[in-house]
C-alpha cells in the first residue's frame, strides 16, 4: 500500500536555514580552517542516521562537499534526510533491513556517485566486510583500514597486540594454581590488590579481593573450593584488581603518512550498565605526566596496527593513576565533541582529509587543552527505572538551549520528530564548555534547565542531579558512581525545605496569574464590578503530599508569597504560556519549566526533576478533608482488543520488557490500523494470540507480569 510514495523525497526548505545556523554556531569552536584549494571528495554518503549523520554533514557543508543521506521508512521525515543534498530510501524501519544492509547501500553509492562513505558510529562503522566492499568498488571508507578494524575488533588479539606495543594491560593469570604459595607468588608478581575468582564463574560472581599475602591465601582456598565444587573446573583467574576504576580514553588521529598524534583524554566514568552518561574533557584526575604516558601508549598502539583516521583507546585507571588498556574503538566516538571543544580540532574534517590521503596538518605540540568541556547524553528514557529504560513518543515541543553561550547541542531530531522503538533512544548530546571545569558545569546546569523536551520521558532529571552532585563536582568519581550514590535507584531530586517553598511559591504565582487573567475579559458588555479580585489570595499548595498554606499578592512589579511566615518575592515578568520560566525568587535566579497546567495541578520542572503541585483556594482545601479518598485505579497491565478486527502484528514476546506507551500490537479494523500500547511498564507475561488471527472486542491479547 502506498508504495508509490516510497520514491518521493520530501524536501522542506525552511528547515535548512535553521540547520545552517546550527552548523555555523558549532563551527565557532573549530580552529582548523578549511583549505578550499586542497582537493577533496565531491560527494560523501553518510551511512548512518540521527545526530551523527547530521554532525558529519555539517563538516561536509563546511568543506563544500555534497552529501548523500540514507533513510529508512521510519526516518522519512528525519532531520538527517532533510539536511542532506540527496536523500535515498534504504529500506524498512528495522535497521537489519535498512541501515545494516550493505548491498542496498552499495547500490545507492553507485546510483549517487558518492566517492566516499562516512559510517558514523554503530551500524557498519566497525564492520571490516563493509570497509572491504567499499575498497573493492574504489570508494573511500572514512575510517581506519580493515586490518586495523579486525585487529582491534577481537578482544584477545587486541590485548596481545597492545602488550607487544608496550601498552599497559591488566596483569593477570588464568590457569590451574597448584597451591596457596603459588597463588601468593602470582599475586606478588602482579602486585596487590588482586582479584581472585574461579575462571568458570561469570561476571563478578565469587570474586574475592586480596590486599596482602594472607588474603591471597584465603582467596585461593575459597575460590579453588568453589571452582571444584560449583563448576568442576580447577582453573582460577588472578588479576590485578582495579580499585575505584575510572574510565579514561585517549582520542588518537593518524594519517597514512605515518603521522599519529593524540588529542588528549576524555573521562567517561559516569556510566550505567556500561553505557556512558556524562563525559568530560580533560579528566580532572590526570596530571600532565600521566596524560603524556597514556597518549604516547595510545599512539604507539595506533602505529602498531597501521591505524589511520580517528580512533579511541580506552583505559581503566585506578586510584594510583595506574592505567590499563581496555580496548580500542576504531571509529568516531559518540563523545568526540568534547575533545573538539578543548582542542579546536574538527575531527570529522581530519577524518575526511586523511581518507582523501592528505597528511595531518598539526603536530602533537599544536594540540592544546583550552578550558573544559562536558557532555551529557540526553536520552528518551525513564531515569527512575534502572537509571534509564527506553521510552518512545513524539516530541510535541522541543527547544535546544543553544541560545545560551558556550553550549553545543548535537542532535538529529526536531520538534515533531518521533523517537521510535527501532533505534537508539538518544535525543541529543548536550555539550557545554568554559574556561574551567566549574564554568563548564555551571553552563551545563543552565543548559539542562533551559532544555525543553515534551512528549517523551527523558533523563534530564538524572543528568541534572549528577552535574550538581557534590561528589561529581569535586571530581571524586568512578565507574560505579551511580550505583554507589543511588543504591536504591534514582529517586529524583530531594527538595530541601527552602526549595520546596520555592516550588510552592512559583506554582502559587502561576495559579494567581491564571486566575487574574480568567477574570479579565476584553469584550464584556457589563463593566466589571470593582474590585474583581481580592487584594490577597489565600491558597494551599500541595507539594509532594505536604500541604503548604500560603497567601499570594500580586504587586505592580512582583508577587509576594507568604508561606509559613516566610515571605518570598517572585518576579512577574514571565509569560504563563512560555515553556521556560526565568524566575527570580528573593533575588535568586531560578529556572522553572511549566510542564502542564491542568485544573488544580501544575507540573513544574525544577532543577531537572518534575514536581506535581496542586494549588487550591484555601476554602477548597478545607472542604477537601470532607472528600473521601478514592481508591486509585491501577493500570491493569492487560491489553485487550478495543474492537473486532485482525491482528496485523505483535511487536513483543513473552519475557520482553515493555515501556509504558510502547506499541505492543496492531489491530486492523475498519481498514484502519490501530496501535495498542502497554498501559504500564513491565515484562510481558503472555501473548494469547498470533499474528494474522482475528480477535473480537474485549479479547485479552496480552498480559504483563
Amino acid at each position: 500500500m502506498a508504495s508509490y510514495r516510497f520514491n518521493l523525497v520530501k524536501r522542506v526548505p525552511q528547515f535548512s536555514s535553521s540547520l545552517y545556523r546550527i552548523a555555523r554556531r558549532c563551527c565557532s569552536i573549530y580552529t582548523t580552517p578549511v583549505d578550499t584549494n586542497e582537493p577533496t571528495f565531491d560527494k560523501i554518503l553518510i551511512a548512518n542516521r540521527g545526530e551523527i549523520a547530521c554532525r558529519v554533514m555539517q563538516t561536509c557543508k563546511r568543506m563544500g562537499i555534497k552529501t548523500v543521506a540514507i533513510f529508512s521508512e521510519a526516518d522519512r521525515h528525519a532531520l538527517h534526510a532533510q539536511m542532506a543534498d540527496e536523500a535515498m530510501y534504504v529500506g524498512p524501519a528495522p535497521s537489519n533491513q535498512s541501515y545494516l544492509v550493505m548491498d542496498r547501500i552499495m547500490d545507492i553509492i553507485r546510483k549517487t556517485g558518492a566517492q566516499a562513505v562516512h559510517p558514523g558510529y554503530g551500524f557498519l562503522s566497525e564492520n571490516k566486510e563493509f570497509a572491504k566492499k567499499l575498497a573493492d568498488e574504489g570508494v573511500a571508507f572514512i575510517g581506519p583500514p580493515s586490518g586495523a578494524i579486525q585487529a582491534m575488533g577481537d578482544k584477545i588479539e587486541s590485548k596481545l597486540l597492545a602488550k607487544d606495543a608496550k601498552v599497559n594491560v591488566i596483569p593477570g593469570f588464568d590457569g590451574v594454581v597448584k597451591d596457596a604459595d603459588e597463588a601468593v607468588q602470582i599475586a606478588n608478581d602482579i602486585g596487590y590488590p588482586v582479584m581472585i575468582k574461579a575462571s568458570a564463574g561469570g561476571g563478578g560472581k565469587g570474586m574475592r579481593i586480596a590486599w596482602n599475602d594472607q588474603e591471597a591465601r584465603d582467596g585461593f582456598r575459597l575460590s579453588s573450593q568453589e571452582a571444584a565444587s560449583s563448576f568442576g573446573d580447577d582453573r582460577l583467574l588472578i588479576e590485578k584488581f582495579i580499585d575505584n576504576p575510572r574510565h579514561i580514553e585517549m582520542q588518537v588521529l593518524a594519517d597514512s603518512h605515518g603521522n599519529a598524534l593524540y588529542l588528549n583524554e576524555r573521562e567517561c566514568s559516569i556510566q550505567r550498565r556500561n553505557q556512558k552518561v556524562v563525559e568530560e574533557a580533560p579528566s580532572i584526575f590526570l596530571d600532565p605526566d600521566t596524560r603524556r604516558a597514556m597518549g604516547e601508549q595510545a599512539v604507539a598502539l595506533a602505529r602498531a596496527v597501521d591505524y589511520t583516521s580517528a580512533g579511541t583507546v580506552e583505559f581503566l585507571v585506578d586510584s594510583q593513576k595506574n592505567f590499563y588498556f581496555l580496548e580500542m574503538n576504531t571509529r568516531l566516538q559518540v563523545e568526540h565533541p568534547i575533545t573538539e571543544c578543548i582542542t579546536g580540532v574538527d575531527i570529522v574534517q581530519q577524518m575526511i582529509r586523511v581518507a582523501k590521503g592528505h597528511e595531518l596538518t598539526m603536530k602533537q605540540s599544536d594540540i592544546p587543552i583550552r578550558g573544559w568541556a562536558v557532555e551529557c547524553r540526553v536520552y528518551a528514557e525513564d531515569p527512575y527505572k534502572s537509571f534509564g529504560l527506553p521510552s518512545i513518543g513524539w516530541l510535541s515541543r522541543y527547544q535546544e538551549p543553544t541560545h545560551l553561550p558556550k553550549v553545543r547541542c548535537d542532535s538529529g531530531i526536531q520538534e515533531g520528530s518521533e523517537i521510535s522503538m527501532y533505534y537508539d533512544p538518544m535525543i541529543s548530546k548536550l555539550v557545554t564548555y568554559g574556561d574551567n571545569r566549574e564554568e563548564a558545569l555551571q553552563n551545563m546546569c543552565r543548559a539542562l534547565d533551559n532544555y525543553v523536551i515534551r512528549g517523551v520521558t527523558h533523563n534530564i532529571p538524572l543528568l541534572q542531579e549528577i552535574i550538581a552532585h557534590p561528589r561529581f563536582v569535586s571530581g571524586d568519581i568512578n565507574t560505579k558512581f551511580l550505583y554507589e550514590e543511588y543504591p536504591d535507584g534514582f529517586q529524583g531530586r530531594q527538595l530541601s525545605d527552602t526549595e520546596q517553598k520555592e516550588v510552592a511559591a512559583m506554582a502559587a504565582c502561576i495559579y494567581l496569574r491564571d486566575q487574574v487573567r480568567a477574570g479579565a475579559f476584553k469584550n464584556e458588555n457589563r463593566m466589571p464590578l470593582q474590585p474583581v479580585n481580592p487584594a490577597a489570595w489565600d491558597i494551599t499548595a500541595i507539594v509532594q503530599g505536604q500541604e503548604m498554606p500560603a497567601t499570594v499578592t500580586e504587586n505592580k512589579d512582583n508577587f509576594t508569597v507568604t508561606i509559613d511566615g516566610q515571605t518570598l518575592t517572585v518576579n512577574n515578568d514571565w509569560s504563563i504560556a512560555a515553556a521556560v520560566l526565568d524566575a527570580t525568587i528573593n533575588g535568586q535566579q531560578n529556572t522553572f519549566q511549566c510542564i502542564s497546567r491542568k485544573g488544580d495541578e501544575i507540573k513544574l520542572q525544577y532543577k531537572g526533576t518534575v514536581f506535581k503541585v496542586e494549588v487550591l483556594p484555601k476554602k477548597a482545601t478545607d472542604y477537601s478533608h470532607l472528600m473521601p479518598e478514592k481508591p486509585k485505579v491501577e493500570a491493569s497491565g492487560e491489553v485487550r482488543s478495543p474492537m473486532a478486527g485482525s491482528l496485523v502484528s505483535i511487536s513483543v514476546q513473552p519475557g520482553q520488557d515493555v515501556a509504558i506507551g510502547q506499541e505492543v500490537c496492531v489491530i486492523e479494523a475498519m481498514k484502519m490500523q490501530n496501535s495498542l500500547t502497554a498501559d504500564r511498564s513491565g515484562k510481558v507475561k503472555a501473548v494469547h494470540f498470533e499474528t494474522g488471527t482475528n480477535v473480537s472486542e474485549d479479547d485479552l491479547i496480552l498480559e504483563l507480569e
Binding site: M1, S396, F521, A577, K630, Q673
Partner: protein
C-alpha cells in the same frame, strides 16, 4: 476564610467579620468598614449584621427588637438548612452541603441570595413537618471570575432536597430574571425528587421549570451539575439544559429508580449501574462529563464557565492570550502519517493549535470517534469539532453524529466560532447502524452544520471521503474558510474501495490504485475547484486561523425568515 476583629467604631465596641484578605493591613478600620459595605453579598451573612449595625446605626437600630429577633431566627434557620445531623450525614456521603457548594462555585463574597425567607406553606398528607426553611433550595446570583451567574443549589439536608411548589417557584424566579438580564443559569442538583405529599403542586413545579428551561434555551447557557440523586421528572430539567455534568460515585440520574425497575422488570440493578456517572458519560450519552468529587466539579465548572458567553446577544468571550497568535507549530508537519491506514491522535493536533493546550473536552468518554470541546484561539473562545482516527478510524456513527450536532448547535446559538478538523473515511457501515437509523441521525449533524451561521473554519488534515466530507463543515455548507493540508485527500472513497468498484475484475489492481491515488489522494482536485480556499502548511495552521477569526468576528449572516427550522430529531 472569615476572621473576627474587635474594634471601636463610632464609640461603640463591635466585632467586624470579614475575609482575612480584607483585614490583612489592619491599619484603618473605619475605611475597612466603609469598604466592606460596598461588598455585595455580605448582607447574607449573619455575622455581617454586626458590621451593618456599626455602619448604619440609625436605620437598623430603629427596628423594634422583636422583629429583629424573628428576622435573625429565620435567617439562622435558613443558613443551617436541615440541621447539623443531616449536614454531617451529607458530609459522610462525601458530599458538600448546598451552601458550601455555592461558596466554592462563586467568587468570594459575591453571592446574593433570593427568597431566603420562602417556606413551604403547610404540611400536607400526614406530614408532621414544621415549615421547611428555604423550601429545600438555595437560589440567587453571584459572580464567577467577575461575571454574573444565576444559580440554584438544592439542599439535600432539607427534606431530601425534594421539590415542592415553593422550591420550584424559587427556581423559576431566578430563571426568569436570568432570561431578562441575559445571564446564564447553573443548577446544582441534589434532590430526592418530587415532594410526594404535595401531589400535583409538586408536579406543577416541574412543569414550570421545564417550560422555563425550554424558553431559556438559546437565550442563556444553562448548565446542570448533578451532585446527588436526580430521579424521575427531575431528570428532565438537566436533559433540557445545555450541559449536564456529574460527580463520580455520588450522583445518579434516572427516570425510575432501582426499586421500581425491580418491581416492573425484575432486574436487579444498583443506582450506580442504572444511572451513575460512568453509565451516562460513556454509555447513554446523557451527561457531558464527570468529575472526581464536589470540589473538583465546582472548580472545573468555574473554568468551563469562562469559555461561555453570557447570552445569545453577547459575543464569544475574549481574554488576554499569552500564547502568541502567530506561533508556528512544527510538530503539525509530522503528525499525519503518510500511510492512509495508520491512525494518528487528533488530540495532538488540537493541543498544538489552540492556546496553551487548554482544551475543555465535552463528552470525552462517549462516541470517541468525534471530539468536541471548547478552546481558545488568541484568547477567543472557539468550539472544536474533530474526527478522531484512533477510534473506528474516525468514521461517523449514530452517536458521533448526535454528539457533534448538539455541540455545533450550542456554539451556533451562542456566537462561538466553529473550528473543524477533518479526517473522516465516511459513515460507519453495517446493519447495526443502518437499522438504528444512521440516516436520520447522521442528518442531525448535517443539519446543524448547514444551519450554523457563526464563523466556520475547516481544516482537512487527511481523509475527507464521501458524504462525510460534506457533513464536516465543507465549503458547500457556507463554511467561511476551508483549508487542506498537503496530506489531504478529498474523494468519494479511498483508493482500494474505488478501484474495486471502478475496475472490477481488473488484474492490475495495484497499478489502478496507484493511479487513483495519484489523481485523488491529494488536495489539488478540491483546491482547483475552490472547494478549499488554500493548501496550508500544517505548521502555519494556528497563525492562519487566528487571523481568520479576527476577520470573521464581524461576520453577519442571516437565513430565510421562518418560525423555526425542523431539525430531523
Amino acid at each position: 476564610m472569615l476572621v473576627c476583629r474587635h474594634t471601636t467604631f463610632r464609640g461603640e465596641t463591635t466585632t467586624i467579620v470579614c475575609p482575612a484578605s480584607q483585614i490583612s493591613t489592619n491599619k484603618n478600620m473605619a475605611a475597612l468598614v466603609k469598604h466592606s459595605r460596598s461588598l455585595s453579598g455580605f448582607q447574607a451573612r449573619p455575622a455581617c449584621l454586626k458590621l451593618l449595625r456599626a455602619a448604619l446605626p440609625r436605620y437598623y437600630s430603629a427596628l423594634p427588637p422583636a422583629a429583629h429577633e424573628r428576622i435573625g431566627d429565620k435567617r439562622r434557620a435558613a443558613l443551617t438548612g436541615g440541621g447539623q445531623r443531616r449536614i454531617d450525614a451529607q458530609h459522610g456521603k462525601g458530599k458538600l452541603t448546598a451552601r458550601e457548594r455555592v461558596d466554592l462555585l462563586l467568587d468570594p463574597g459575591t453571592f446574593v441570595e433570593y427568597d431566603m425567607f420562602v417556606e413551604d406553606r403547610r404540611a400536607e398528607f400526614g406530614s408532621e413537618r414544621e415549615a421547611v426553611p428555604g423550601a429545600g433550595v438555595i437560589t440567587g446570583r453571584g459572580h464567577i471570575h467577575g461575571r454574573p451567574v444565576f444559580l440554584f443549589s438544592q439542599d439535600f439536608t432539607v427534606v431530601g432536597g425534594t421539590l415542592s411548589n415553593a422550591h420550584a417557584t424559587k427556581i423559576c424566579k431566578i430563571m426568569d430574571q436570568a432570561m431578562l438580564t441575559g445571564v446564564p443559569v447553573v443548577g446544582l442538583n441534589d434532590s430526592g425528587g418530587a415532594r410526594i405529599e404535595q401531589g400535583v403542586d409538586s408536579m406543577s413545579g416541574y412543569g414550570d421549570i421545564f417550560q422555563r428551561n425550554v424558553e431559556a434555551s438559546g437565550v442563556v447557557p444553562q448548565i446542570s451539575l448533578i451532585m446527588g440523586p436526580c430521579a424521575g421528572g427531575a431528570a428532565y430539567s438537566p436533559a433540557l439544559s445545555d450541559f449536564t455534568f456529574m460527580v463520580k460515585d455520588t450522583s445518579y440520574l434516572f427516570v425510575t429508580g432501582p426499586d421500581v425497575v425491580k418491581s416492573v422488570t425484575g432486574e436487579d440493578v444498583s443506582c450506580e449501574e442504572l444511572g451513575g456517572a460512568q453509565i451516562h458519560t460513556a454509555l447513554s450519552g446523557v451527561a457531558h462529563r464527570a468529575f472526581e468529587n464536589d470540589i473538583d466539579a465546582l472548580l472545573r465548572l468555574r473554568e468551563f464557565y469562562n469559555f461561555l458567553p453570557l447570552s445569545y446577544k453577547d459575543p464569544a468571550p475574549i481574554r488576554t492570550g499569552e500564547d502568541p497568535a502567530d506561533r508556528i507549530c512544527p510538530v503539525l508537519d509530522h503528525l499525519v502519517p503518510l500511510d492512509p491506514e495508520k491512525p494518528f491522535n487528533m488530540h495532538d493536533i488540537i493541543r498544538s493549535v489552540i492556546d496553551e493546550e487548554d482544551f475543555f473536552e465535552i463528552m470525552p468518554d462517549f462516541a470517541g470517534n468525534i471530539l468536541v470541546g471548547f478552546a481558545r484561539m488568541d484568547g477567543r473562545t472557539v468550539g472544536i469539532v474533530a474526527n478522531q482516527p484512533t477510534k473506528l478510524g474516525g468514521s461517523l456513527d449514530i452517536n458521533a453524529s448526535v454528539k457533534g450536532a448538539r455541540f455545533v448547535r450550542f456554539c451556533d446559538a451562542f456566537n462561538i466560532p466553529l473550528l473543524t478538523f477533518v479526517d473522516v473515511p465516511g459513515f460507519l457501515p453495517g446493519t447495526a447502524q443502518e437499522h438504528s437509523g444512521i440516516i436520520r441521525h447522521g442528518a442531525k449533524l448535517l443539519f446543524a452544520a448547514c444551519e450554523a451561521t457563526v464563523p466556520k473554519i475547516t481544516v482537512i488534515t487527511r481523509k475527507a471521503y464521501g458524504g462525510a466530507y460534506g457533513v464536516m463543515a465543507s465549503k458547500h455548507m457556507k463554511a467561511d474558510m476551508n483549508y487542506a493540508w498537503p496530506t489531504a485527500e478529498v474523494a468519494v472513497m479511498g483508493a482500494k474501495a474505488a478501484v474495486s468498484v471502478l475496475f472490477r475484475g481488473d488484474q492490475d489492481k495495484a497499478r489502478r490504485e496507484a493511479e487513483y491515488a495519484e489523481t485523488f489522494a491529494n488536495p489539488l482536485p478540491a483546491a482547483s475547484r475552490g472547494f478549499v480556499d488554500d493548501i496550508l502548511e500544517p505548521r502555519m495552521t494556528r497563525r492562519r486561523i487566528c487571523r481568520d477569526l479576527h476577520l470573521l468576528s464581524t461576520k453577519q449572516e442571516s437565513r430565510p425568515d421562518k418560525r423555526h427550522a425542523n431539525i430531523p430529531l
